[in-house]
Every structure is written in C-alpha cells, then in structure tokens.
Amino acid sequence: MIWQLDLAILTLVVVTAVGAIYIKDLLGTAILFGAYSFLMCLLWSIMGAVDVAFTEASVGAGVSTVFFVGAVFRTTRRTKD
C-alpha cells in the first residue's frame, strides 16, 4: 500500500462526497456519486481487495449511476438544497 496515493485518493473521495451532497442539481449529484464510487474502487485495489474492487466498479460505479440517472429522468432535476 502506497500511502501518498492512498491519502490523495481519500482526499478526493471526501471532496466528491461533499460535492454530491451540496450540488444544487440532481443529475450533478448522480454523476458525482459515480465518480465517488469509481474512486472507492481505486481505493480497494490499492488495499489489495481486487474482488471487492471489480464488484464495486461494475455494480457501484456502473449500475448505481444508471439507477440514479434513470430515477432523475423519471422525476425531476430540481432540488432546494
């Protein structure tokens, strides 16, 4: 485990999490959540959990983002907070 890479990706994970919470557009939330899941996948391959990493890449970053985008298009992009 390379700690510089680990720390950089962990910082990016926190930044994307806060961004996904605060952005005033639900499509933006969906896209930032996809980026969050992909960074999470990188973090797991750094930790040596390769099986968890590729499950997260397909299921977390792939299917979850599709679900979110689908739900946003079936409902609305507008949000107050």
Binding site: M1, D6, L7, L10, T11, V13, V14, A17, V18, A20, I21, L26, T29, F33, Y36, S37, M40, L43, W44, M47, G48, A49, V50, D51, V52, T55, E56, V59, G60, V63, S64, F67, F68, G70, A71, V72, R74, T75, T76, T79, K80, D81
Partner: protein, 131 residues
C-alpha cells in the same frame, strides 16, 4: 503532544472513514431532498465497507491468490504473506445488498414523486397534512 499527533497521523485512514460516515449521516438527517438522503445512505454504507476492508490489509502482504497454483498441494502456504481475505468476502455481500437497497429506495422515491409531484420532504409533509 507530539506522541498524540503521531498517533493521529499514523491512523489517518480511520479518521477519514469517520469523516465520510459523518457526511453520510448528516445528509440522511439534514437534507430535504429524498435523492440526496439516498446518496447519504450510500456514502454511509461505503464508509463502513471501507473500514472493514482496511482492517484486513497488511503492510507488505500480497493479494489473496495462492502463488504456484499448479501442484499447490506439495507447497506449504504461508498465510502471513497474504492479505486477509475474510473481510473482503463479507463486504462483497454488503456491496450487493447496498445496490439492492438503492434500487428499492429509488423505486419508492419515484412512486412518491408521481403521487405528490415533489421530491422535497417538507412539501410532501405539507400535502399530507392538508388532506
């Protein structure tokens, strides 16, 4: 003081996991939009999964696939050289469960939107109180 500081800095990953978990908890409690609450729930879940996987990782360990697999029966397997795979397997189940939860939660949110024409919690509650 310096000892406390080094104690904090060497365990920096745990502090960031707790930060992520609190971001998720804040979003679940304080946000008004249902989709943002669902995003917060997912962030909370991934923070816990991250914590469990990081328990299993060790310094200098390799990924948990046995080396020299052909004729592995004649080799002695040194378990200390490999990263502990037990948390990985448990958390694999948790990821699948979290996606199933996400699907159900989004389906409920779509149903609520079609009935009340809004995803905001306060507007939905106001409409319920009017009836």
């Amino acid at each position: 003081m310096t000892q406390l500081l080094s104690e904090i800095l060497t365990k920096y990953n745990y502090w960031i996991y707790i930060t992520l978990m609190m971001i998720g908890l804040y979003a679940m409690i304080a946000k008004n939009n249902l989709v943002k609450k669902i995003v917060g729930m997912n962030i909370f879940q991934t923070a816990i999964i991250l914590f469990y996987v990081s328990i299993g990782s060790k310094k200098g360990g390799t990924i948990p696939i046995i080396k020299h697999d052909h004729g592995a029966a004649s080799h002695v397997v040194h378990a200390a050289e490999y990263i502990n795979p037990l948390p990985h397997v448990l958390m694999l189940t948790a990821i699948v469960v979290s996606v199933a939860t996400l699907g159900v939660a989004l389906a409920l949110a779509i149903k609520i939107y079609h009935r009340y024409q809004s995803l905001e919690e306060d507007e939905i509650l106001a409409q319920i109180r009017e009836k």
